[in-house]
Structures are given as structure tokens and as C-alpha cells.
Amino acid sequence: MIMKSELPSWNEMEEGFITRTLTEEINETGSWRTFKPVIDHSRCTKCRLCIIYCPEPCIDLEVTSSDEKVTIDYNFCKGCGICAEECPVTCINMVEE
């Protein structure tokens, strides 16, 4: 909990409510999830559409020397299901947690 005395007064805050704390890196939004997207890697064509559509954006393409693989950062994924909706080969399933 934030103590009242720690909060800045109006003239201590940066004009225009600019925040430099990058709260999106601190607030792990993964706990909001009800449904979890799970990728069936055997059918994934690595088309990257889910990466583009992810609003968070928490889907990434992990590239190693021998392979590349689409991964989801579950610390931030809110389970919105957009990736599953957009996947052209329907290889992402929304699984209830």
C-alpha cells in the first residue's frame, strides 16, 4: 500500500502526467488471466502473425542456432485470446486455468 506522505503534490509531478517508471515492466499482468493460450508447436508455421497482433506485446520468436520457436511470456499475457483468433492454422488453444 502507498502511504499518503509518499505521494507527490501537484507541483512535484511532471507536467502532463509523464511517467518514467515504465510501470508496464513492473506490473506483471499475467495474473489477470482466465484462459491461457497454448501453442501447438508441431503445427505452428512461424508466420509471426500472433507476434504482430499481440496487444501486450508478450509473444516473441526465440531463435537458437538450430531452431526457432514462438514463445509466450506468461508473466504478462492477460489471456485476451487475440493470438488464437488470428492464428491462420488455429494452432493456439485457449486453455482454462
Binding site: S9, N11, G16, F17, L22
Partner: protein, 385 residues
């Protein structure tokens, strides 16, 4: 030049970086002319074609956050469509400048002048300047950028110029030299906000612990701009010879009754005052040049000793106790503990012509009020059948 062409010319001289707008009468010719300037290389700017006014103002807001100098203009329904983004622009403290060619709002559809579009924007936190001639629409726009980008201000500015009456009527206009505009309103006053090397968040979620402070900050900033607006106007007077002030009084020194108005209607009232003064009538008028922040101290100072005042509103505020401008002025008087009988005139709605005869009638009514000291019905709808 017409008011719209004068505005477009000012934008060319101000070397704006991005113009995003959607056509709507009577503002369209501003944007048409600017697109011509961009197309033929006279203005090096990004001319953005957008699908609505909502997108136009959103694009301006975003571009302004990167440090670009932006412009948009609109009227009537277009301004109403921008409404929600207007609050965001002022709270984020971004220097967006816009010309509003004031037009009535539907229904019925009407493309003529009144202030029905601008009055719903009273509380959006923008600085609102009012022009009463095409010359002033040009002058105010150059001042607007200087005010808006001032590091002490950092607030968006609307320049209101009455649609059709100013936007489409041609009058001789004294233009400044390009170099004079550049030195008066230099480009680099406003620091760039968005920078890939220094990441930050603009428009973040504000918890209840922060919301009040943020809104108070921009609201306080708006109140404090009145000094800066006067300062800029004074400096502009030095280079152009034209000074308007936040309120522009005429023959108020010994006047018994004063009529207060805003926008192009003021010219008719001034001409009427001039004529009636010759007949020995002790009347005066004040033209309001600034509506937000409201120059209440200046107004009260001018009217505190008169016998009666009249306020002309060019917009209705259905269900309210009176019109928007009248409400501001009478509240200011009440708080100054001054009790002057007053009348609220609603005139010129939807482009209804307001003649010198109409103004004369208003003064007759006011003089009657001044004589008896009582007001029977303080609302009067000029020309209502």
C-alpha cells in the same frame, strides 16, 4: 483575403510540420489552401488525410508529443466529434493549435454562424481566443503558437473565428513578413517529448491517488496563462501595431450601460455605439477576446460602476439559468459583491442577422433597466417570432 485564407497564410508563415484535418463547412477553405501550399512546395509539412475529426485531433496530439508543430481546424459537428480528445490534449499539456470557424450545431442542419459548437468545449482545458475580424483571425493564430509552445504554458489553443461572417468574407488584411513571424513565434520553444533514447510513458493510467493532482495541475496552468496571453499580445502589438488585449473596451469610461459580446457581433455593436454616442447617449461596449481562461478581473474592473449591463450570448445553454457568457460575468460580479442589474441577450443563432437596429433595441432595453433598476425578465431572445 477571407478569414480562412488569412488563417492558411499564417500557417504557411508559421512553418507548421503536420496538418491533419477533415473537411467541414465553413472551415474547409483553410485546409484546402494549406493542401495547395503543401502540394506546390510552399509549405514543407506532412498533410495528413484522415477519416474523421476524431482522427484529425488524435493525429495532431500524437505528432505534438514528438515535438512537431501541428495544426488542425474544424467547425460544428466536427468539433463535437473531437470533444473527447480535447480533454486529453490539455491534460497531457501538448501544444496543439486549432482554428474553429464557429458554426451552429444540428438539428436542424445549418451551416451558418453561432457559438453552439464552441460552448460545449468550455471545460476541455484549452485556451480559447476569439477573433472579431479576419485580420484578428490571422493575428491570433500567430500569437496562439507563441502562447501554446511557451514552456510556462504548454497548453493547446483554439482560435475562434465566426463561420461565414469571418471565414468567407473578404477584407483587406495586413500581413507580417515571414521573418517577423519566425522571430515572433520561433520554432524551438517546446522541448521534444518522445525520444527513443529516453523512454517514457505519456497518457498513462492515473490511479485515484494521482488523478486530482494531474487535473489540478493543468487547470491551474490554464488559469495562470492569462498574464502570458496579455504579455504575448503586447509584444505582438510592438511588431504589428495591432493590440487587442484580453478584453477590448470601447467608450466604457463614462458609460451608464455596457453591452458585452464575443466574436464578430462585437463589430456591429461597436458601430452602433459609435452612432448612438454622437446623439449623446452614454453607452459603451466590451468585446471579449478570451473566453478560457475567463478574464473576470479585467471585466469586473470595467463594469463595476455602471447602472446596467447586457451580455450577448450567441449560443443557448438549454436548462441553464442563463447563457454561458452571462453566467461567467454574473458569477464574477456576485463574487466581487457587486450588484448590477443585468440582461442576457441571445442573438445571431444559426446565422440570424444581427443588425444595428437589433443592437439599438438592446440598448433601449438596457437603459430602461438602468432607469428603473429592476429587471422583469433577464433573458431576451433577439428576433424571436
Amino acid at each position: 483575403m477571407s478569414g480562412n485564407l488569412a488563417a492558411a497564410y499564417a500557417i504557411k508563415q508559421l512553418d507548421v510540420d503536420l496538418v491533419a484535418a477533415y473537411p467541414i463547412t465553413p472551415q474547409t477553405t483553410i485546409i484546402e489552401k494549406i493542401s495547395e501550399y503543401v502540394a506546390n512546395g510552399e509549405l514543407d509539412a506532412n498533410f495528413m488525410l484522415v477519416e474523421s475529426e476524431h482522427s484529425a485531433i488524435s493525429s495532431c496530439l500524437s505528432a505534438a508529443s514528438t515535438g512537431a508543430r501541428v495544426f488542425t481546424s474544424t467547425s460544428s459537428q466536427g468539433l463535437l466529434l473531437m470533444h473527447e480528445i480535447l480533454f486529453i490534449t490539455s491534460a497531457l499539456r501538448l501544444p496543439v493549435v486549432m482554428t474553429v470557424a464557429n458554426r451552429s450545431v444540428s438539428a436542424p442542419i445549418n451551416i451558418w454562424c453561432d457559438h453552439g459548437d464552441i460552448m460545449p468545449q468550455r471545460d476541455v482545458g484549452w485556451i480559447q481566443l476569439f477573433a472579431e475580424s479576419a485580420q484578428e483571425a490571422y493575428d491570433k493564430l500567430i500569437q496562439a503558437y507563441r502562447i501554446s509552445e511557451d514552456p510556462r504554458v504548454r497548453l493547446p489553443v483554439m482560435v475562434s473565428a465566426d463561420g461565414i461572417i469571418l471565414s468567407h468574407t473578404y477584407e483587406p488584411i495586413r500581413l507580417l513578413k515571414d521573418s517577423e513571424v519566425t522571430s515572433f513565434s520561433p520554432w524551438n520553444l517546446y522541448p521534444t517529448r518522445l525520444d527513443p533514447d529516453k523512454p517514457l510513458t505519456i497518457g498513462a493510467f492515473g490511479y485515484p491517488e494521482y488523478y486530482l493532482e494531474t487535473r489540478y495541475q493543468s487547470s491551474k496552468a490554464l488559469e495562470d496563462t492569462i498574464k502570458i496571453i496579455s504579455e504575448v499580445d503586447k509584444k505582438y502589438g510592438e511588431i504589428s501595431g495591432r493590440k487587442y488585449g484580453v478584453v477590448f473596451p470601447f467608450k466604457c469610461e463614462d458609460a451608464d450601460v455596457i453591452l458585452i459580446s464575443m466574436g464578430s457581433i462585437s463589430e456591429t455593436i461597436r458601430a452602433t455605439v459609435k452612432k448612438l454616442r454622437k446623439k449623446g447617449e452614454k453607452i459603451g461596449m466590451i468585446s471579449l477576446k478570451l473566453f478560457r481562461p475567463f478574464p473576470f478581473i479585467e471585466i469586473v474592473e470595467l463594469i463595476k460602476d455602471v447602472k446596467a449591463i447586457g451580455v450577448v450570448d450567441r449560443a443557448l445553454s438549454p436548462g441553464a439559468i442563463a447563457g454561458p457568457v452571462y453566467n461567467e460575468i454574473t458569477t464574477a460580479l456576485y463574487l466581487s459583491k457587486i450588484n448590477i442589474p443585468s440582461m442576457n441577450f441571445f442573438a445571431g443563432l444559426g446565422g440570424r442577422d444581427v443588425t444595428m437596429e437589433d443592437v439599438k433595441d438592446m440598448f433601449v432595453k438596457l437603459k430602461e433597466v438602468a432607469k428603473t433598476g429592476t429587471v422583469k425578465d433577464n433573458k431576451f431572445y433577439v428576433g424571436l417570432r
